[in-house]
């Protein structure tokens, strides 16, 4: 059967079923790793870094409570976000500043290197765990708490944590390496993705909205590595799809007042493929457009596609150019919910959301939001001219808040 033949009604996030799903931590199919982490801490296997207070208490897949820090966050940046779509990370930082939150943007941070690992397997279990623990150690030494920007880093680190808890030999080997580096061996109490932090601050954002978004429709692509890897540790909310799908992104977008529309291929990945996006993009282009963007278009006709991972924004956005050349039914702007939320509370589309790094036309969306695109672009051009003239070395935070 073709996708077109499946009768999916454009609808929101209420499940069309009388059944309700009540998660019960007692009947979770996996154990709560966090108890084991504290236990290993008590046994002197590692230092456990506690989530700084005050924190938000969110529910995960099986109804367990997860602590999400508001402040004192150490920003574990993402290669693809910082490198190719820098408005993504800039918006996360900007939202912290906008809310007056204390955060830290480190230079003592490497990539999780999982993009490379999932692309080429040129690494191994010990190396991957050592890279993770080196970064955690670096965060601990600053007194700030890791907040992970990339969905793949988050998923990979959850895998690494699972392996380290269960494999004594691995723990020993990695601890020896970290000790050799002169670093403390530290496991954070929780692994937290930035989209969980967005979930935690959604009411704060709602109270600061600058634009009415009620006439906007978004489709959400939930990132595979956020909720499929170690699936118990992702945020779910009974208000969102009856608690049957992750609430990350969707809950935030709804709080901002926009409508989230469903589509039948929501579980499909974006087509990134890790190796494919770099050297075999025929796969990525086809999958991203035929299985995601076109289906969204046909079933929900969204104004924007929102997601919470580096690879997803990249694949879904950049793949549309070639499909457009073939006359396919594409042409929907793609960005992270951090950029969308920042715009909604008044961030500049170019100074902060840096949308000029994105490919698919975002101007109609901005206009529909109520943003004067030409004026904003002219302002940004003035900034660039100042930098070129040397009267301003960089675009500073003071200039954008």
């Amino acid at each position: 059967m073709n996708v077109e033949e499946i009768p999916v009604m454009p609808r929101g996030t209420k499940p069309e079923t009388a059944r309700s799903f009540v998660p019960d931590p007692e009947h979770a199919p996996d154990e709560d790793l966090r108890e084991a982490i504290w236990e290993l801490g008590r046994e002197g296997e590692w230092i456990v870094q506690p989530v700084p207070e005050p924190y938000y208490e969110a529910r995960t897949n099986y109804g367990r409570i997860k602590k999400i820090p508001f402040q004192k966050t150490w920003h574990h940046k993402s290669c693809g976000q910082c490198g190719h779509i820098p408005g993504y990370s800039t918006s996360i930082f900007w939202l912290n500043r906008f809310l007056g939150f204390d955060y830290f943007d480190p230079r003592d941070q490497t990539s999780c290197t999982a993009w490379n690992y999932y692309a080429s397997a040129t690494s191994n279990q010990v190396a991957q765990a050592a890279v993770a623990m080196r970064n955690f150690s670096a965060a601990y030494e600053t007194g700030y708490y890791p907040l992970i920007h990339c969905g793949t880093s988050f998923g990979h680190y959850k895998e690494v944590r699972h392996e380290l808890v269960h494999n004594h030999d691995l723990r020993r080997q990695v601890r020896d390496i970290i000790t050799k580096l002169g670093r403390p061996f530290v496991m954070p109490e929780e692994l937290v993705h930035y989209s969980e932090w967005m979930y935690a601050i959604r009411d704060e954002l709602k109270s600061r909205l600058v634009y009415d978004l009620s006439h906007l429709t978004a489709t959400v692509h939930p990132a595979c590595h956020y909720y499929k890897l170690q699936s118990g540790d992702a945020i779910y909310d009974p208000e969102i799809y009856g608690g049957q799908r992750t609430a990350a992104v969707t809950a935030v977008v709804q709080s901002l007042g926009a409508k989230v529309a469903d589509y039948s291929t929501w579980y499909d990945c974006c087509g990134f493929g890790f190796r494919h996006i770099l050297v075999q993009r025929d796969f990525t282009r086809s999958f991203a457009t035929l299985r995601k963007i076109e289906v969204m278009r046909e079933e929900a006709n969204p104004d924007v596609v929102l997601t919470h991972d580096t690879g997803c924004v990249t694949s879904l956005d950049k793949s549309q150019f070639a499909a457009q050349a073939h006359g396919r039914n594409v042409g929907v702007p793609v960005m992270s919910e951090s950029q969308f939320a920042a715009l909604a509370v008044g961030a500049h589309p170019f100074r902060v959301a840096q949308l000029h790094w994105h490919s698919t036309d975002y101007r109609p969306l901005l206009t529909k939001m109520g943003i004067d695109v030409d004026k904003a672009w002219a302002e940004f051009q003035e900034d660039l001219a100042k930098i070129e003239r040397g009267s301003m070395p960089y675009l500073t935070w003071e200039a954008v808040l």
Partner: protein, 228 residues
């Protein structure tokens, strides 16, 4: 039916590689048998695009079909997109994870098909292992991403200026994604060396290995970083 695609490779060699896959500490956690239900295939993006099936991967490994596993290590594993949609397996298998292990063994043992699959990718290995970030802004070049449209050229043309128009100070870079401290980089090199990852690269591409080793050794020596 036995696979006969690689008759020139002795069965002992195929068995040796299979044993290496099975010896990985994660293997037990990734495979519990297989119902042949095909749920993983229905969820798999690569199965829609290629002649590829995560069910077959789980099946072949569970049945210990040495010939077929060898064939898959050559012809299938690089098609996987490592999305892990297949972990919705009702048997709690992780076909994507099994593929990660098979890939690692393929790289470690210098399989010819692996070298071919990664031929265009090695410059990225150099980037991530020597800078600590996977991609850099200056990789956005029209000839590298012609299918991404004219916007890539816009970025390339204004790269230096546009990077300076980013408020976070750590992002004023063009050769790597964000500024990474020297000590941090040296610690990363130390990890690659201590865990045998650098040796792994030798199997894949000797020239690349030699260049990376020189870069890392020089940097470590300059800063008095000792690795024993």
């Amino acid at each position: 039916m036995l696979s006969s695609l690689y008759p020139e490779v002795p069965l002992e060699e195929k068995q040796r590689l299979f044993d290496l896959v099975k010896a990985d500490p994660r293997f037990e956690d990734y495979l519990y048998g297989c119902y042949e239900c095909g749920i993983c295939v229905a969820a798999c993006p690569s199965a829609r695009f290629y002649d590829f099936s995560p069910r077959k991967i789980a099946q072949a490994l569970a049945r210990e079909d040495i010939e077929l596993v060898y064939e898959q290590m050559n012809d299938d594993i690089w098609n996987c997109s490592q999305c892990f949609s297949c972990v919705r397996c009702p048997r709690k298998n992780n076909p994507g994870g099994l593929i990660t292990i098979m890939r690692e063994v393929a790289v470690n043992n210098g399989l010819k098909t692996t070298k071919e699959a990664l031929a265009g990718y090695t410059r990225i290995i150099y980037k991530i292992m020597t800078t600590g970030t996977q991609v850099s802004p200056d990789m956005l070049q029209e000839d590298a991403f012609p299918d991404w449209g004219p916007q890539v050229k816009e970025v390339a043309t204004h790269l230096d200026l546009w990077r300076r128009a980013l408020p976070p100070e750590t992002l004023h870079t063009t050769g790597l994604s964000w500024q990474v401290e020297e000590r941090t980089m040296l610690e990363l090199y130390t990890i690659w060396k201590l865990t045998g990852v650098l040796d792994m690269i030798r199997e894949l591409d000797e020239g690349l290995h030699d260049i990376m080793e020189e870069v890392m050794d020089d940097a470590l020596e300059d800063q008095g970083f000792a690795i024993d």
